[in-house]
């Protein structure tokens, strides 16, 4: 039942917000997300790390006519993402205590954030394909409104593009789900996972996989389906960007692992080379786009394309190490890129610009702590060993070094080398970014302008991410120790 409570808490907060006056909104928002986060920590304690399979499950009939069930459960693959979701939602609520873009209206803003949280958590907990799909869709509306109402100048364009792309993805996803259902007459993900696609003829498997694959690829986003992301990120408010990069993108890769690879393993083998190629194209392509990007939020958005490329590469190897890497890189990217979007948002609040040339350098002189934190986050993002970003990307390449049996090793070795080139390019654009933003002298136009360094509320919202960046870097077992058993079980390797 604890999982149901995890969904009900933010939902209750959402309802409470709608009932309460505006001036209580921020406190309600923090309270609701904090208790949800607290509950997810309780999950960490309640979870039995020595047992494989799903735990703490709930399984009730929902639409008996179509055999759709309200089936929730938790395993090593979803647990880290659940905690990441509640943490980021909580930090976003804390951040909103002091910072809320035009047109204000904290009640509506936080209600949407809480609704978003319900959808994200539900996606990671659902064990029924249609339930999963419902939660997957629940996420779209709040995010659409967050961008469309609180976004930047071109917000309506960005929001429309976001909804168009993701709806297109959803259609394909639904098609995939229906193909599976047509052959198996069940939406039960546990049962489907156990059968491993044995009930589907090969052609149907491939067709279903293609639908799921494209649906999730839009969300992740995988090159070349990524083009909604830069616009959405550029225009979204800080909190929207943090949740978008931190959690929403992970829903795509999570679905790929949880549904596509688990339930259609044979098709996964057929598609893995394409997935790998597209992933690596994304890595290089994203990095090159970042290199000459003028808008700092857009840059971080493109960097997500590259980072998610490593996640996809890990999955494409179909090895335990690759999938572990994908799950760890998921979490690490959520933490580090979430942090980066917070920092860039803070930069924008102060400079009223997200144009790199307009900021013009010298942030370290103007706001030393903000500059220092930006440096730290950028270094983490470029995958410095000892910080969170490293292990996932390194292990994804290790997976590609020796991909699963039946995959072309030469191809994957090539992909590994190209991904390695990608890590260099990633370092290039992040260091160039730092050079143009944090280093150098303060331009004339900002000399007289006064603005404060990091505030205590900002620091409070960022501190957990800063700490996690270091802790995951020094102790990757925090995630890998949880995922490893579940991943081995999933791939049937042990």
């Amino acid at each position: 039942m604890i999982l149901v409570a995890l969904l009900l808490l933010p939902l209750a907060g959402c309802a409470g917000l709608l009932a309460a006056p505006d001036r209580w909104a921020r406190r309600i928002g923090v309270a609701a997300t904090a208790t949800t986060f607290g509950l997810s920590l309780a999950l960490l304690a309640a979870y039995d790390y020595h047992r494989g399979g799903f735990q703490l499950g709930v399984d009730r009939a929902w639409v008996p006519a179509a055999d759709i069930r309200f089936h929730l459960g938790l395993d090593g693959i979803s647990l880290p993402l659940v905690v990441l979701t509640t943490l980021l939602s909580f930090l976003c609520a804390v951040y909103t205590l002091k910072t809320l873009p035009e047109p204000g209206r904290p009640r509506a803003f936080l209600a949407l954030v809480l609704l978003l949280e319900v959808g994200m958590l539900g996606t990671f907990l659902a064990l029924d394909l249609l339930l999963f799909f419902v939660f997957f869709e629940v996420v779209l509306a709040p995010m659409y409104f967050l961008i469309a109402l609180w976004g930047g100048e071109r917000r309506s364009y960005a929001a429309t593009k976001f909804i168009l792309f993701t709806l297109l993805g959803s259609v394909l996803l639904l098609l995939g789900i229906l193909v599976i259902y047509a052959h198996t007459a069940t939406f039960d993900m546990v049962r489907l996972g156990r059968r491993g696609g044995a009930d589907l003829p090969r052609a149907a498997q491939d067709l279903a996989f293609l639908g799921l694959f494209l649906g999730f690829a839009v969300k992740t986003p995988m090159w070349p389906l990524h083009s909604w992301l830069p616009d959405a990120h550029t225009e979204a408010p800080t909190v929207g960007s943090v949740l978008l990069a931190g959690v929403l993108l992970k829903m795509g890769t999570y679905g790929l692992v949880r549904i596509a690879v688990t339930e259609l393993p044979a098709a996964a083998r057929d598609f893995a080379p394409y997935l790998g190629v597209l992933a690596v194209v994304g890595i290089i392509y994203g990095a090159l786009c970042c290199l000459v990007q003028r808008d700092i939020k857009r840059l971080i958005a493109y960097s997500s394309v590259g980072h998610m490329g490593f996640v996809l590469l890990g999955i494409a190897t179909l090895t335990p190490v690759g999938v572990n890497a994908a799950l760890l890189a998921n979490v690490a990217h959520g933490v580090v890129t979430g942090l980066l979007f917070f920092l860039v948002g803070a930069l924008k609040d102060r400079y009223h610009s997200q144009d790199i040339a307009e900021i013009g350098g010298g942030v370290l002189a103007k706001a030393p702590l903000l500059g220092g934190l930006l440096t730290f986050a950028a270094i983490a993002s470029l995958g410095l060993p000892g910080l969170a970003g490293f292990w996932g990307e390194m292990l994804a390449m290790l997976g590609a070094f020796r991909p699963a049996q039946g995959l072309h090793r030469g191809l994957f070795l090539t992909l590994m080398v190209l991904a390695g080139v990608g890590t260099v390019l990633t370092a290039v654009y992040l260091l160039v970014l730092l050079r143009r933003v944090t280093l150098g002298v303060v331009p004339e136009r900002w000399r007289e302008r006064r603005f404060g360094d990091v505030t205590s509320v900002e620091l409070a919202a960022w501190a957990p991410l800063l700490a996690l960046t270091l802790v995951l870097g020094l102790y990757p077992r925090l995630v890998l120790g949880v995922t490893d058993a579940a991943v081995r079980r999933l791939l049937g390797g042990g």
Binding site: L164, P224, C289, H408, G420, R435, L480
Partner: protein
């Protein structure tokens, strides 16, 4: 004692964290924490050295699982033997002296707290490399050093040159590090473990290809970190950092990490003669290239930087020709004399306010201590007897000679050994010449600048004097036969080569004492270099002896235009490519459709329809584009 070896990197790491978080609010100030945070591991390292003294070849290892990965697990732990202990002592001593020196050199610098903390972090990272029991653990230290180097080179970050140099250093080494990582993959996967001991134990059974590919890939990282051709170009630019950093990172420690890793994994490297050939060729080229470039620089620190490049090549060359102990001997003596030289250069630069030797001259009167100590350092660099560099360089040349002539069973192909030997001898001549030029241009003649000359304060003078001792006398440890090699794990009873089942049983424990033949020739060549420079200088004391180079001066000064080459081939085309890609991306659908080669109508019309809000056309275009692309991949694979 060796069980507590983890404290050696942990203590400076803690000092760094404290320094970064608390900065000036620390009791005792940032300087107190920084110096203490380096003094404690110095004591610990010495204790380690004493603890392993009885049996330096025995490996004391601790290892615990860091994390499962789904494939080869990653462990952390410490691995202490004579080699680790000796190098740890070297790192700690230089770091300690640099921290003390920096308290004076950066007095009044508002960024001193973060500087001192980063030096501590750097020290911790280097010590982690030294005591690591696992290759990926080693990689963490290896890369953290790189990023510390980035920060410290960029210390004066208002200056564009400093931030550019910092970026260049990080990226150049990172290029090598990608290869290094893949090398770790190759060897670790073949051995089924990333643990160094497991790798060394299983080395003979790894299979020829894995060893060849793995070690060659490791060499990429070594060449980057230890500034060897063709990835050496970052080091001279790194001189934009504060001078004590040049002493610590760019002379004595970080650049030594590459050499150290080769030594650490030597039993694997000797299984692959081709790798050693490659290392030898790189070393031979680097030696000469660095020395020739050093001849023509006007910037005092750049002369020293190129000399570092050149001297590091003696170490890699020494290791390549099978001179395991000789290469490490040079590593140790070089750490002493090059740290000394850089700290002396700092004392000079601090008072004259410029790096350019054309604005120095005649400084021996105003800076007597600096002059005396730097003279010792330069003599050691030039390899003049009886200074330390003479012994260690001769050990390397002796090893190369033995390998080239077949007196010792060569571990690489003999032509490669010849190459190292000949390049090494020529470099001795060049080293004598540029060391003399530096000495004369800085300390003799008349002062060509305008600053008021004052000798360095005590906190700077003491490290100079302390480093002058080993720079002068460390070489004599080589005279005691088998002592240092024994320390470094090359002892008689220590079956260092027991790891390898090659017919190559341990080459006879090498004596590091001077071999009469090579020593005589090398000394004569060194003196010749000194004399030629001196004669040239005598004729016109105000002029730069580099004029003797004639038309070669310009290419030497530009270090053979390699920077220009990389600029033209890599640095400039990259943004162009990136702009093209971004342009392609901005057009979105359009790019996709035209990229898959189908239909110009999508290119024009699709986008227009998108802007008109024609959702269907947009969605269709997107879908078609993906299908075409996937089909393309299907055809290609």
């Amino acid at each position: 004692m060796t069980g507590a070896a983890w404290l050696v990197p942990a203590v400076p790491f803690l000092a760094a964290v404290l320094g970064l978080l608390a900065g000036r609010r620390l009791p005792g100030g940032p300087a107190g924490v920084a110096v203490l945070g380096t003094a404690v591991p110095t004591g610990l390292a010495l204790a380690l050295a004493v603890a392993v003294l009885g049996d330096p070849g025995r490996v004391r290892e601790t290892s615990t699982l860091l994390t499962p990965t789904g494939a080869v697990p990653i462990a952390v732990g410490t691995r202490v033997d004579g080699l680790a202990a000796v190098v740890a002592v070297m790192v700690c001593v230089v770091a300690l002296l640099v921290q003390v020196y920096s308290t004076a050199y950066l007095r009044g610098d508002p960024r001193y707290p973060s500087y001192a903390a980063l030096v501590s972090l750097f020290t911790a990272a280097m010590l982690l490399v030294v005591v690591s029991a696992d290759l990926l653990e080693l990689l963490v230290g290896w890369e953290v050093m790189g990023v510390c180097s980035y920060f410290l080179i960029g210390h004066y970050w208002q200056q564009p040159s400093a931030s550019a140099a910092a970026v260049k250093a990080f990226l150049t080494t990172r290029v090598g590090d990608v290869g290094f990582l893949f090398g770790i993959f190759t060897l670790g996967t073949a051995a089924g473990s990333f643990r160094i001991s497991a790798l060394l134990d299983r080395a003979p059974r790894l299979g020829h290809t894995a060893v060849l590919v793995g070690t060659l890939l490791l060499v990429c990282g070594v060449v980057g970190k230890s500034a060897q051709f063709p990835l050496h170009t970052w080091l001279p630019d790194a001189m934009a950092g504060p001078t004590p950093i040049s002493a610590l990172i760019h002379a004595a420690t970080m650049v030594a990490a590459g050499v150290y890793v080769v030594a650490r994994l030597y039993p694997v490297f000797v299984l692959s003669p081709v790798t050693l050939d490659v290392l030898a060729v790189s070393a031979a080229v680097t030696m000469l290239l660095g020395a020739l470039a050093a001849l023509a620089q006007d910037d005092l620190k750049r002369v020293l930087a190129y000399s570092t490049v050149s001297q590091l090549a003696y170490m890699t060359g020494g290791l390549a020709v099978g001179g395991y102990a000789a290469g490490l001997f040079h590593l140790l003596s070089h750490a002493a004399f090059k740290a000394l030289l850089f700290l002396c250069a700092g004392a000079v630069i601090r008072t004259v306010g410029t790096n350019l030797m054309s604005e120095m001259g005649g400084l021996r009167r105003g800076l007597p201590v600096t002059f005396a100590t730097m003279t010792v350092g330069l003599a050691a660099l030039a390899g003049l007897p009886p200074f330390s560099g003479f012994f260690s360089k001769d050990a390397v040349l002796g090893s190369a000679w033995a390998a080239a002539t077949g007196a010792a069973r060569p571990v690489l192909d003999r032509p490669a050994a010849w190459l190292v030997f000949v390049a090494g001898m020529l470099t001795v001549l060049l080293t004598g010449a540029y060391a003399t030029r530096l000495w004369l241009r800085t300390f003799f003649g008349t002062y060509r600048g305008t600053a008021v000359i004052e000798e360095a304060p005590t906190a700077m003078r003491v490290p100079l004097l302390l480093l002058a001792l080993p720079a002068a006398a460390f070489g004599f440890v080589g005279l005691r036969s088998g002592w240092l090699p024994g320390w470094l794990g090359y002892g008689r009873d220590v079956a260092f080569f027991a790891y390898t089942p090659l017919p190559l049983t341990a080459p006879p424990t090498p004596s590091l004492g001077p071999q009469a033949g090579t020593a005589l020739v090398a000394t004569a060549l060194g003196l010749l270099g000194v004399l030629v420079t001196y004669t040239g200088w005598r004729r016109a004391p105000a002029a730069d002896p580099a004029r003797l180079l004639g038309r070669a001066r310009r290419p030497f000064e530009r270090a053979f235009y390699l920077d220009e080459l990389y600029d033209a081939v890599l640095v400039r085309p990259l943004p162009r490519l990136a702009r093209a890609v971004l342009g392609f991306d901005v057009t979105g659908v359009d790019g996709l459709a035209s990229g898959s080669g189908s239909g110009a109508w999508l290119a024009g019309g699709g986008l227009r329809r998108l802007q008109n809000g024609n959702v269907q056309a947009y969605a269709t275009a997107l879908f078609l584009g993906v299908l075409v692309l996937v089909a393309g991949v299907a055809v290609l694979t």
